[in-house]
């Protein structure tokens, strides 16, 4: 029986609010569609101790956790692109030089992953328990061109739902609810997300998973 487990290297605590859920749910759909031999998708576990900037710390942490994961998900924000590319390159290089054999799959949005939360309008309406959105924030494939998704989310919470986005508890639970509700099909219209999806398929093929 194939069972799939992953750890997530991420930027900060707010990524934990939604990325593990979103990625796990996406993976469930991915394996059902492409790898029916896979019988289980375990939780995506964040590894805060790994940081995401320094290859040595990251590799050291991963070695300590060895055996608990089949795939490493590495998240870094995409903006500014020059810096993001540089860090990602450095990480990839150090990782392949290490003796860790599990595939490393990058989770890199065009700017910030928060944009992904906006991809599915229905999920926003549902998370905030509204009848409808009065003003349409960006959605679908355009979310990634949104210069500052956090500002859009703040406005959404404030103007549509009367919530104070400065209050962390409300913000966290909003992120979480959207992650539990967002349609994966909608997310796949976002190019950077689709890129991750493709990379993930490739990584699973590399692990010996057979297409159905």
């Amino acid at each position: 029986m194939w069972s799939l487990s992953r750890v997530l290297i991420r930027e900060g605590p707010s990524d934990d609010w939604f990325l593990p859920i979103l990625l796990r749910r996406a993976l469930e759909e991915l394996v059902v569609e492409f790898f029916p031999a896979c019988r289980e998708v375990q939780e995506v576990r964040p590894l805060p101790e790994a940081g995401n900037q320094h290859p040595e710390t990251m590799i050291k942490t991963l070695k300590e956790e060895r055996g608990t994961f089949d795939v490493v998900l590495y998240h870094h924000d995409g903006a500014p692109p020059a810096k993001s590319q540089l860090v990602l390159g450095r990480i990839r290089q150090a990782y392949s030089a290490s003796d860790l054999g599990e595939p490393l799959v990058a989770v890199v949005p065009m700017r910030e992953t928060e944009a992904w939360l906006l991809a599915d309008r229905t999920a926003l309406v549902r998370a905030l328990n509204l009848r409808r959105l009065n003003r349409e924030p960006v959605s679908g494939s355009e979310v990634e061109s949104c210069p500052d998704p956090k500002v859009v989310i703040d406005a959404l919470l404030r103007d549509e739902a009367g919530l104070n986005p400065k209050k962390k508890g409300a913000l966290r639970n909003f992120y979480l609810s959207v992650a539990e509700n967002a349609g994966i099909a909608e997310l796949r219209k976002v190019p950077a997300f689709q890129q991750w999806w493709n990379d993930m398929i490739e990584a699973l093929e590399g692990l010996g998973y057979q297409h159905g």
């Binding site: 487990s5 859920i21 059902v32 029916p36 019988r39 289980e40 998708v41 939780e43 576990r45 055996g67």
Partner: protein
């Protein structure tokens, strides 16, 4: 003593197995299946000893609701359990290990009422593997009212004896989910001897424990120990008395402190009564299953309580070898959310629950996952364990560290 439980198709369990040492604490996130394990144990033990109808009424939920619901809303039609038991050494007979396998099905018979039936069951000896209690393999059905294990008897005398002892072990599975209101109440003279799972009837239960275990020199039996431990754990209490009131025909508890005698249970603190009920359950023989002992208990005292529970249980090798006048056999199973557990309980006595997603014919369903904790620098992958062990980094979650992943 129950040494292993396997569950499939009951509530949130799919191909789930857990070895039970004599002392085990289940920790884990909310809605991860901790109480479901206790329900499973209660359900199968009650079905074995009192029948399916009683089993349904002892657990949370209705008959059909107990069958696992898949991600698409459909339900499975079968529930499979296996319990492995260690029957302690007794006078002439050495200890032996048995495995009881039982499968329940949801049945809608033509012209009859729908309900849970027992489809098949068998008892296998683990001590001498080719001994299977005869006449019990194969498909047959036991109806709701009859204790499942009764279907085994009526064979060889020796087999009947084994079944009787297994039944006894399972009768002694007691779960405890305390409720403040029940704890304070009086018992009636002539009322039930045991407390129920909310701790209603605690006074009579203490009286019963005292009678059962009294000896010439220890007139209160284990209740003497319970008193001593209560004083050690609560401090403000120096003693309690079980007062039998012939005129009111009831039995009440009266506490005493160094400064005050005759403090009625109604005025005792919640924590005092909780501790007392837990201590009582831990001093009885059999398997005590205790939900969230940390409720209403000061963390330092919880530490002491868990330490004490560990001392009170019977180690497996002790149960296997003890002689004719063996002391009570005791096992304790706790659920908890308290980080104190990690400080006082050895790793091998902790199991961590959370959820995972299984995929069945393209349908994703959430089910419970159980993992043991990794020993210091020990292996992550262990033979026979479905999931890798929990590492220290992940336990940070349970300790509620500064950065809190969801």
């Amino acid at each position: 003593m129950i040494t292993r439980i396997e569950i499939d198709g009951f509530k949130s369990f799919e191909n789930f197995a857990l070895d039970l040492p004599p002392f085990l604490v289940l920790i884990g996130t909310n809605a991860s299946g901790k109480s479901n394990i206790l329900d499973a144990l209660t359900f199968v033990a009650t079905a074995g000893t009192r029948g399916v109808d009683a089993a349904v009424s002892e657990v949370r939920g209705d008959a059909r609701g107990l069958f696992r619901k898949r991600g698409d809303g459909t339900r499975v039609d079968r529930m499979r359990f296996a319990l492995e038991l260690l029957l302690p050494a007794q006078r002439s007979s050495p200890s032996s290990r048995w495995r009881w396998e039982v499968r329940f099905a949801w049945a809608v018979p033509e012209g009859g009422l729908e309900g849970i039936t027992i489809e098949t069951q068998r008892l296998v000896s683990l001590s001498s593997p080719d001994r299977v209690i005869p006449l019990v393999e194969g498909e047959w059905v036991v109806r709701e009212g009859r204790p499942a294990l009764d279907a085994f008897s009526g064979n060889h005398k020796q087999d009947g004896e084994i079944v009787r002892r297994i039944k006894l072990e399972l009768t002694e599975v007691r779960s405890l989910h305390l409720e403040a209101g029940s704890l304070r109440g009086a018992s009636e003279l002539g009322g039930p001897r045991r407390m129920d799972s909310t701790a209603r009837n605690l006074p009579n239960y203490l009286r019963f424990l005292a009678r059962e275990t009294a000896s010439e020199n220890r007139p209160l039996g284990v209740v003497g120990e319970i008193k001593m431990h209560l004083v050690g754990l609560v401090r403000e209490i120096s003693d309690f008395e079980i007062v039998e009131d012939e005129r009111r025909r009831d039995v009440r508890l009266e506490f005493a402190s160094p400064y005050d005698r005759g403090l009625d249970a109604e005025f005792a603190s919640d924590g005092t009564l909780r501790m007392l009920a837990i201590l009582a359950a831990l001093h009885d023989g059999g398997t005590a299953v205790i939900e969230e002992p940390e409720n209403g208990v000061f963390p330092e005292r919880l530490r002491q309580l868990l330490g004490l529970a560990r001392e009170l249980v019977t180690e497996e090798d002790e149960a296997a070898t003890s002689g004719p006048d063996r002391p009570l056999q005791r096992q304790a199973l706790f659920t908890s959310h308290s980080p104190v557990v990690l400080d006082v309980v050895p790793r091998e006595n902790i199991a961590f629950l959370d959820m995972t997603t299984v995929l069945e014919d393209g349908i994703a369903s959430r089910v419970s996952r159980v993992r043991r904790l990794r020993e210091d620098a020990g292996p992550v992958r262990v033979d026979g364990e479905r999931w890798p062990r929990v590492t220290d980094s992940e336990l940070g979650r349970f300790r509620a560290g500064v950065e809190e992943p969801v």
